[in-house]
């Protein structure tokens, strides 16, 4: 197994239709040996391009890519010791499962008995031992997914690359495969680079997550760190469902003033926001840190907002209440027992210790 490193990698496309287009801008990071790293971001953010550059399917415009201790810039995909699982599985339709699994090994001219042994081993891991003679079209979506996975495992590569492997599966199967992938990572102890646009997948699978937007890396951190300390408004809004609420506030004399409500910041936060005295900031709070007034836990610091309930979404285990603060729609995730009717004027309690502050111009986090 091996680490993967990007050093100032840039990818620019020269396209007849779109012209010059920067897919990945000055990207640097290290993925440690045996680490499970997830690239996440909206479509067109450069995550798949990054993955394809690791695979060698795309050549970076500048910068270096290292796998293990080797600079692999000029290496063909087959010489990079990687395996990839594609979004559409990319199984060879005219070959049986067995032929699909063994194709890479046959190309590498491995001895026949070794191929047989490895294919049998992998078929056992992916649970398709009885289906080796079937063609891909005779398999279900989940089984095809397993074959694609098996084809990667059988190569015993240094690095596994996953390109949105679960996005074609139905919701139930996706959850199941997610658990299996996590188990597989433990079992293989492999370095895995995984691309997805699904933040739930990213949060549940990744040991670290690389959040990308418009070709730039926004933040690299563990799921908990991303959730609790998003570096900018993009990360704050992208990670978490429903996303973090943003509200506009003005800082004056150690107090934050929003439309219809003002509250004291407390010493520590006031120090943090000293340079913003007399200026606007964006205040962020996650939906689960807003409570209906009938179920408020003991909070060290809090403030209340009165607002009319606009929409109620009943999710069973919890309810989502939507209301307006200033011009912005705010979501509260509350206990299902919370009493609320549409149109009702309700008091919401905000946990002030869970607030995030962002600069409205740079959208960067203020403080740590």
């Amino acid at each position: 197994m091996a680490r993967v490193e990007f050093r100032n990698v840039v990818k620019i496309y020269e396209d007849e239709k779109r012209g010059r287009f920067t897919a990945v801008a000055d990207s640097s990071f290290v993925i440690e040996d045996r680490e499970f790293v997830v690239f996440v971001g909206p479509s067109g953010c450069g995550k798949t391009t990054s993955l394809r550059m690791i695979a060698g399917l795309e050549r970076q415009t500048s910068g270096d890519i290292l796998i293990g201790d080797r600079v692999v810039n000029n290496l063909h995909p087959k010489d990079r010791d990687i395996a990839m699982v594609f979004q559409d599985y990319a199984l060879y339709p005219h070959m049986t499962v067995k032929e699909n699994l063994s194709f890479g090994l046959r190309n590498l001219k491995r001895p026949k008995d070794e191929i047989e042994r490895k294919v049998a081993e992998v078929a056992n891991i992916i649970g398709l031992t009885g289906m080796l003679d079937r063609k891909p079209r005779e398999l279900s979506g989940g089984q095809r997914q397993r074959v694609a996975l098996g084809r990667a495992i059988v190569r015993d590569p240094q690095v596994f690359l996953f390109d949105e492997p679960l996005s074609n599966l139905d919701a139930k199967l996706r959850v199941q495969m997610r658990v299996e992938l996590a188990e597989l990572h433990k079992r293989l102890g492999a370095t895995i680079v995984y691309v997805t646009h699904d933040q739930v997948e990213a949060m549940t699978l990744g040991e670290r997550i690389v959040v990308m937007n418009e070709g730039r890396i926004q933040q690299i951190a563990s799921p908990t760190e991303l959730y609790n300390h998003p570096q900018n408004m993009f990360v704050a809004g992208f990670i978490g469902s429903p996303p973090m609420n943003f509200m506009d506030a003005r800082i004056e004399n150690g107090q934050a003033h929003m439309e219809g409500v003002s509250f004291s910041l407390g010493d520590e936060t006031a120090r943090l926001l000293k340079s913003y005295e007399g200026r606007n900031v964006v205040l962020g709070i996650r939906p689960e840190h807003i409570y209906g007034d009938d179920f408020v836990p003991a909070l060290a610091k809090s403030f209340t907002v009165q607002a009319q309930v606009q929409v109620i979404e009943n999710l069973g285990a919890e309810n989502l209440l939507y209301f307006r603060v200033g011009g912005r729609m705010v979501t509260a995730r509350v206990k299902p027992e919370t009493e609320a009717r549409i149109g009702q004027l309700k008091t919401f309690v905000f946990d002030a210790s869970k607030l995030h502050f962002f600069d409205p111009a740079t959208e960067q986090r203020i403080g740590t």
Binding site: E16, R52, A55, G56, L57, H76, P77, K78, I82, A83, M84, F86, Q87, D88, Y89, A90, L91, Y92, P93, H94, F103, G104, N107, L108, K135, P136, R137, E138, L139, G141, R144, R151, R155, N168
Partner: protein, 277 residues
């Protein structure tokens, strides 16, 4: 169309189609029937639906009086070679134009396409001069085959077909340590079978039926293809309609066999199951 479609829609449609079938089939039927009766009957103005006396004499005359077997072999050989070369080169070029990135790809492709706009008659004389006068290939297989080794139309057809194949399979194969030619040979060609079958049928039929070019570049009776041979036989034996019909039947037969052997490829998409739709 669902099962409940009304008879007044089906009826006229069926009538039109039946009429069409008759127009298409009657000449063929006549040809076959004419080849089994004596010449005076097959030349008659009042054609019979079935011969009064069945006879294979026309076939005997056709094969005895001409070098028909040699002509058939020539046609078969030329068409088969051209089918193989067209399949190979057109699919290779089509794959490159559809899936590989190289400088000038679009320009080269458009230049190739633009040559399709030039009528064949325009290039016929320069081609003739080249093959006969300069290369001195008159009356050889090479002369018949060389100019048609691959056609731009076929390259275009294959490029269009290859564009529909999923690129991720090529990437997967590349990661699976497959060589570039290996990708073409082991991945692309098997998946392109339906397209190749169509191309094979059209190419084979076109060259089997080709008349003018083989007529121009062949001189001896031995080098004629069946179509050229039939024409010369017609001029020489203008009264023996039975034998001419027999020759025409013999000349058409391989086309039917070819079509029925490969028609399932028209109906079957082989990429089903490769990529989730």
């Amino acid at each position: 169309m669902n099962v409940k479609t009304k008879w007044w829609i089906i009826g006229p449609m069926a009538a039109v189609l039946m009429f069409w079938v008759l127009i298409t089939v009657i000449p063929l039927y006549w040809m076959v029937i004419g080849s089994f009766q004596d010449s005076s009957a097959s030349a008659s103005f009042k054609p019979q639906m079935l011969p009064e006396v069945w006879s294979i004499a026309p076939y005997e005359r056709f094969f005895m009086k001409t070098k028909a077997l040699r002509w058939l072999f020539n046609s078969l050989f030329v068409s088969a070679v051209l089918t193989v070369t067209n399949l190979f080169f057109a699919s290779l070029a089509g794959y490159a134009f559809a899936k590989l990135k190289f400088p000038g790809r679009t320009t080269i492709f458009w230049v190739l396409l633009s040559t399709m706009m030039i009528p064949a008659q325009v290039t016929l004389i320069p081609l003739y001069v080249l093959v006969i006068n300069i290369f001195d290939l008159a009356d050889t297989y090479t002369a018949i085959i060389l100019p048609a080794v691959v056609s731009v139309g076929n390259v275009f057809l294959m490029k269009q077909y290859m564009s529909t194949l999923p690129t991720s399979l090529i990437h997967a194969a590349r990661i699976d340590a497959c060589s570039e030619f290996g990708i073409y040979w082991k991945i692309i060609l098997p998946m392109a079978k339906p397209g190749l079958a169509v191309l094979a049928i059209f190419t084979f039929v076109a060259h089997w039926n080709d008349f003018f070019w083989p007529l121009l570049v062949t001189r001896s009776d031995e080098m004629r293809t069946i179509q050229v041979g039939l024409a010369s036989f017609r001029f020489a034996e203008s009264t023996d309609f039975g034998a001419i019909m027999a020759g025409a039947t013999v000349g058409a037969l391989p086309m039917f066999i070819l079509f029925f052997a490969l028609q399932r490829y028209f109906l079957q998409g082989i990429t089903i199951g490769a990529v989730k739709g």
